[in-house]
Symmetry: C2
Subunit: 358 residues, 2 copies
DNA sequence: CGACAGGATGATATCGATAACAATTTGAAG
DNA sequence: CTTCAAATTGTTATCGATATCATCCTGTCG
């Protein structure tokens, strides 16, 4: 018989912690292990009285269920994986929170990874995740390596791509067109009379959403007959606040008469605005600046930043909801596309009447 | 005997995806399952030639290792758990990144959870995590429910508490004294001649680090003979940028002659500064404002914000390093305290000479 | 030439729960 | 008093990998 007390030896080997098993709880209560197992789930048929006795024993002994054993047997790992480009970006962490909230009371847990905007890192993470047999997986964007696609196809679990509308969706999609959203912003500002448009974004195509916004900008500026846009590329995505400040300096050196500058995100827009302020330029009097993403900062800072509001949290909730649907109906081949909303939020940083609150 | 082919039926049940097992790979190659298992690990003794054949087969068949089975057998789950108050706060996501980076090439994965600054939610998460048998756990702060403490003690895995110096450490600690750090900031500013100190923080004690900063402020202001501090409590932690703006309004209504205001975090300091700017007050000419945490925004915005720089990333790296040490030596009872650095960063928002860059 | 060390591989039991089915009990209806 | 359905509980096999020990093979050295 094992001794119930802590061993004298305080040394700890990875394996020997928490030796308590379900069978020992069962013996303690005087039932079978199967009954203990049932007591842990609400659906199972165990008499209230037995369950109470078991739960008291669990408490007394300090037993903690071992899901890794259970998931092997039930073939249900009990979690879903989500990969986001950066954990340090409140847009994506809002999405993560949406997923977590949608998973409440489903018995599913979120396993989060971040790819640093790299498809190679994404591939590695997908493999690492699949080794733990998630019941579904949520990805950001539609750009994946060939091997990643193969692994996902083989895994046979529902996949949801988010935050954009991929050309070749793997499975389900919850997102919006970044190009269209940026185009809408261009059209709105053009409608206010702006003519000379500049754009600030990162240097590479790693950030596919950034690239889509950029081409949405360029295409629309040309469609409206406003000549080729004045584009500055600066820094490796994700472009920081500081890089936004440096980029606007380059842009204004090259095209001093620019009237309005659109930025790939609010963060770079904020950096740009602060740099202008620091150099004695007034926004929007001397130059108008807009962002993308409607981060908290944009409604707080001075001047407040015109931007595209994206339903980040909703993307997370809906992605998780689609996944739960697929798991519930057992249908993983429904290649549905769920469009999420976005809207232009006009604020002080592009106001035609100069600083309105001053 | 099982049928090797995919079923005709495209419907997907949780269990029947990815039917491929190690044994099937083994049969395909003409070796035993054990040899395949060895091929997946670098230490094991398998001839290079056999390993190569196995890996080719793995590629060809699209086999993905199943860690949940392996961890049951080896009694090593292969991950460590970390709980942070909020995923949406760049200080904590820097810590998470530090942990992830330190875990590179250790074969350990990070399982992240967030507690929303609630000890009850933390307790739930700890239980959820322990059910997956993490090899170690990293917590934020030293405030836990009694049951959480019991579960952790019973689990017999190394625990690292971070971001503060708990009075009753469970095991290891990696952090700093939030009270001392705030005290240092008060003393520094008092040394510059400031006399009438205000403070902005959240309303409840949920955020223990916030409470420690608050009492560090109060104690130091009194020690310096600067009378009781002017304290405004506003909003439930984590206090937002917007609440920072509202709080400064209350504070100035009540104590219009306040010279300098310290905020529980840079985010509320930023909100306060923007609100002042919007109301036509100049920072620091009319009032000086400082924050805590040295968020990216504080070195970018105008005026730049005086703050305490905390080694968030280093906290994560060191916490993970301590955990790896403990796992390696097998000693979980080393109740060591690792102090991490912090420093005052003086910037424009508290400059005695008014706006220096203008 | 025999013996033995050491590398490579295989066979079997096992990790700790759950699925599937069997057995038992209880209670209501006939 | 039987009978049968429903509720409750137990038994056994199993999930897919790995620990452990056994076996086989090769080459070297006295």
């Amino acid at each position: 018989m094992k001794n119930e007390d802590e061993p004298k030896d305080k040394r700890l080997k990875p394996g020997d912690a928490q030796k308590l098993t379900m069978a020992e709880v069962a013996k303690y209560v005087g039932v079978s292990a199967m009954t203990v197992s049932r007591a842990f789930r609400q659906d199972a048929s165990v008499s209230e009285e037995t369950r109470k006795r078991i739960m008291e024993a669990v408490d007394a002994l300090g037993y903690v269920l071992d899901l890794s054993a259970g998931s092997l047997s039930s073939r249900r790992s009990g979690f879903i994986a989500a990969l986001v480009p950066s954990i340090n970006n409140s847009n994506f962490s809002d999405t993560a929170r949406g997923i977590t909230d949608a998973l409440q009371n489903t018995g599913l847990q979120l396993l989060l990874g971040y790819t640093d905007y790299s498809a190679e890192k994404e591939e590695e993470l997908i493999e690492a995740m699949l080794r733990r047999r998630p019941e579904g997986i949520i990805l950001t964007g539609g750009s994946h390596t060939a091997r990643a696609r193969r692994m996902l196809a083989k895994a046979g679990i529902p996949v949801v791509e988010t935050w954009e509308l991929p050309e070749n969706p793997i499975n389900q999609v919850v997102g919006f067109s970044n190009g269209e959203a940026m185009a809408l912003l261009v059209r709105t500002l053009a409608g206010q009379g702006y003519r000379k448009f500049g754009y600030i974004g990162g240097t590479t195509a790693r950030d596919t959403r950034g690239s889509q916004r950029r081409s949405g900008f360029q295409k629309t500026v040309e469609e409206l007959g406003l000549g080729p846009g004045r584009m500055i590329s600066f820094g490796v995505p994700p472009i920081t606040m500081e890089q936004g400040g440096q980029a606007i300096v380059s842009l204004l050196e090259r095209w001093p008469d620019t009237e309005v500058v659109l930025c790939v995100s609010d963060l770079s827009a904020f950096g740009a605005i602060m740099e202008c302020t620091r150099r004695g330029m007034k926004v929007p009097r001397d130059i108008a600046i807009a962002g993308f993403g409607d981060y908290e900062i944009s409604s707080i800072c001075h001047p407040r930043i015109t931007t595209i509001n994206v339903d980040c949290y909703g993307i997370g909730r809906q992605a998780a909801a689609r996944l739960l649907d697929a798991l519930h109906t057992g249908n993983s081949t429904g290649d549905e596309i769920t469009l999420t909303g976005y809207k232009v939020v006009l604020r002080e940083s592009t106001d035609r009447n100069g600083a309105p609150s001053a």
